[in-house]
């Protein structure tokens, strides 16, 4: 009896905490948006040089890894696709298969997971250590809103860079898939690309891009809020960093599933 | 808000007045630098200054440095006690040539030559 009670109680507490956390993320989002729009009129603009430096850290530096992973992913999809389709004598259908799944699904997913791993941890660690050393308090008492100064630039950089990374990931994966298909099915890369563009429409590319915006938002908010909530010394910092990466990847995959369900009905 | 500039005996005298603070020091800076650009010897008169903050003092420092680079004369006159204590805090009272008045400045130059 007491065990069921404590189970129910425990579940209730976890649910409450989760709702509270989602609420906090939402508040952080609204507040960032507020500073982006109203900041310039209140003498608290979101600084462009900071946005650019965040874009560099979040986006540009992630390009090599994103390209490498996407390229490999394209090759793997071609290998698996051809192997599977051979059983139905339909290996030439591998091209639309790759084209659809890369643009709608895997390009954005790889880009998001790389960014979550790289920047999700880095942002949480940076904000967390600023929180611990009272730098966040220092900003506040100087009359500089930490959300405006720290969160808003990250959010904007994320929203600007994620679509670009996604399109880069798409093209790397298609090139990877195209090269392998070309070697095995004696198809030139240009023919492959032509057939890709016959298959996909702008809608498919946009599906990836729209998702990339949502994923970028999730990563930024989860990383920042975990950074701000750091307490309990360096152990707490490590916990927040790990939590930030795990939570953002989980959020990305679940959000992706929900998206895919609604966009492909 | 412009500061009054008076030319007497070869000096351009910049009369600062009121509160020379964050909002007003850019005007003081411009007035001083403009005079120096015209290759004039500059005296900054602080007699009517009620308050000067570090941005005002920074403008004086910049003017002094520019005058030295251009081999022009630069001095402060009519420094009040309040202004003096701001200068003293950063030991700038030992850096600027400070005189009671224009006449004191001229007397000083004549004594040297």
């Amino acid at each position: 009896m007491t065990r069921t009670m404590s189970f129910i109680e425990g579940t209730g507490r976890i649910t409450l905490n989760a709702i509270e956390e989602v609420g906090y993320h939402f508040a952080l989002f609204v507040e960032s948006l507020y500073w982006v729009i109203a900041g310039p009129f209140l003498g608290q603009p979101v600084r462009i040089p900071i946005i650019v430096s965040e874009m560099m850290k979040i986006g540009v530096l992630a390009v090599p890894v994103v390209m490498l992973l996407s390229f490999s992913n394209g090759v793997m999809m071609a290998i698996q696709g051809i192997a599977t389709l051979q059983e139905f004598d339909a290996e030439s259908q591998v091209v639309p298969g790759i084209a659809y799944s890369v643009t709608r699904e895997f390009g954005v997913l790889i880009a998001a997971i790389v960014v979550a791993g790289r920047s999700g941890s880095a942002i949480a660690a940076r904000i967390g250590s600023m929180q611990m050393s009272q730098e966040v308090d220092a900003l506040r008492v100087m009359g500089i809103e930490p959300v405006r100064h720290l969160v808003a630039p990250i959010l904007l950089a994320m929203l600007l860079m994620m679509p670009i990374l996604t399109l880069l990931a798409d093209s790397a994966a298609l090139i990877g898939g195209g090269l392998y298909t070309g070697i095995v099915l004696k198809l030139s890369l240009s023919t492959f690309i032509d057939r890709v563009f016959e298959t996909i429409a702008l809608y498919d590319l946009m599906q990836g891009v729209v998702k990339s915006l949502v994923f970028g938002l999730l990563i930024a908010l989860i990383a920042c809020s975990n950074g701000f909530s750091v307490h309990g010394g360096s152990e707490g910092l490590g916990r927040a960093t790990t939590r930030s990466v795990v939570l953002s990847i989980a959020a990305i995959v679940v959000a992706d599933m929900i998206f895919t369900y609604f966009l492909n009905r | 808000m412009e500061y009054e500039i008076e030319e007497i005996k070869g000096y351009a005298i910049v009369h600062l007045k009121g509160d020379v603070d964050l909002s007003r020091s850019p005007f003081a800076r411009k007035a001083i630098l403009d005079c120096l650009q015209e290759r004039k010897d500059v005296l900054v008169d602080l007699t009517a200054v009620t308050y000067i903050d570090s941005s005002g003092v920074a403008s004086l420092v910049e003017g002094f440095q520019v005058s030295r680079r251009m081999s022009l004369d630069f001095a402060l006159i009519g420094v009040s006690d309040a202004a003096m204590s701001v200068l003293q805090l950063a030991r700038l009272d030992q850096v600027f040539p400070i005189f009671a008045s224009l006449d004191a400045r001229i007397a000083h130059t004549e004594r040297r030559t």
Binding site: E135 | S54, E62, V86
Partner: protein, 267 residues
């Protein structure tokens, strides 16, 4: 000059969870005064400071700075007020990604449209004031404890504040460096006429710089008065604090035993 206190705290209560940290705090700080808030750890002095900086919201009571209730102020007004206030944090809280000069210049870059030359001269002037000339280009991680405190002080005074807060200025410093810093605090008040609030547990430093001292103990003010009044106080708790005696709390045998054996099995 004594028309209106710079700081006016009325009946301030603060809780962390269910625990009452501050209990009915009343305090006034006048213009140009150095007020030292003294107390041991757990006295509530850090919490009081966080409330004065508007980093925490009080459970009850009001805090007025420059005559304005900081918790009833629209955020824009609060931002403006904060530009007239400088804070030197215990650990310095310098921005680790910026060098010393950039740290000191940071508030000016954020809040003013001054010329770049003016900003840099101002920052270096403040570094001269705190005797850190020549260290402009160092990063915070390359500074010693005393240098960090002085750089933080330079940043706190770069906007020529009218009100300056120090959190444990002498904590972690050797006596000579600490005495230098106290000297600097006195010079700043004399030259800039700034009102200063120092939160500390260091007796020596407190008596060196204070005009008035307020002694905080377990969330309550024991006494507020001039250094002499505090020294001559006949309150035993004040005297215990001044003489660094720990207090003997009478033992309640039943409760004590209960605390030691609570929750144990088989008892």
């Amino acid at each position: 000059m004594n028309s209106q206190p710079i700081i006016e705290i009325r009946e301030l209560d603060a809780y962390y969870g269910d625990r009452k940290i501050l209990d009915q705090i009343d305090l006034q700080v006048n213009e140009g005064e150095i007020m030292v808030v003294m107390g041991g750890s757990g006295s509530g002095k850090s919490t009081l400071l966080r409330h004065l900086l508007s980093l925490n919201r009080p459970s009850a009571g009001t805090i007025r700075l420059f005559g304005q209730d900081i918790n009833g102020l629209p955020s824009r007004k609060l931002h403006e007020m904060r530009q007239r206030i400088g804070v030197s944090f215990q650990g310095g809280a310098l921005f680790n990604s910026l060098n010393v000069e950039e740290n000191v210049a940071f508030p000016l870059r954020e809040h003013t449209k001054l010329d770049d030359n003016t900003i840099r001269i101002m920052a270096r002037m403040k570094l001269e004031v705190v005797n850190l000339a020549g260290f402009e280009k160092l990063m915070p991680s390359q500074l010693s404890g005393g240098m960090i405190k002085r750089a933080a002080l330079a940043r706190a005074i770069v906007m020529d504040p009218k009100l300056l807060f120090f959190d444990e200025p002498s904590a972690g410093l050797d006596p000579v460096v600490s005495a230098d810093l106290d000297e600097l605090i006195l010079r700043l008040r004399d030259a800039m006429g700034v009102t200063i609030v120092v939160v500390t547990h260091e007796l020596e430093s407190a008596f060196r710089i204070a005009d008035r001292i307020t002694v905080l103990d377990r969330g309550k003010i024991l006494i507020t008065g001039t250094t002499r009044e505090v020294k001559e106080s006949d309150n035993s708790r004040v005297q215990n604090l001044l003489n660094r005696r720990t207090e003997d709390v009478p033992v309640n045998a039943d409760e004590y035993l209960q605390r030691l054996t609570d929750d144990l099995t088989g008892l």
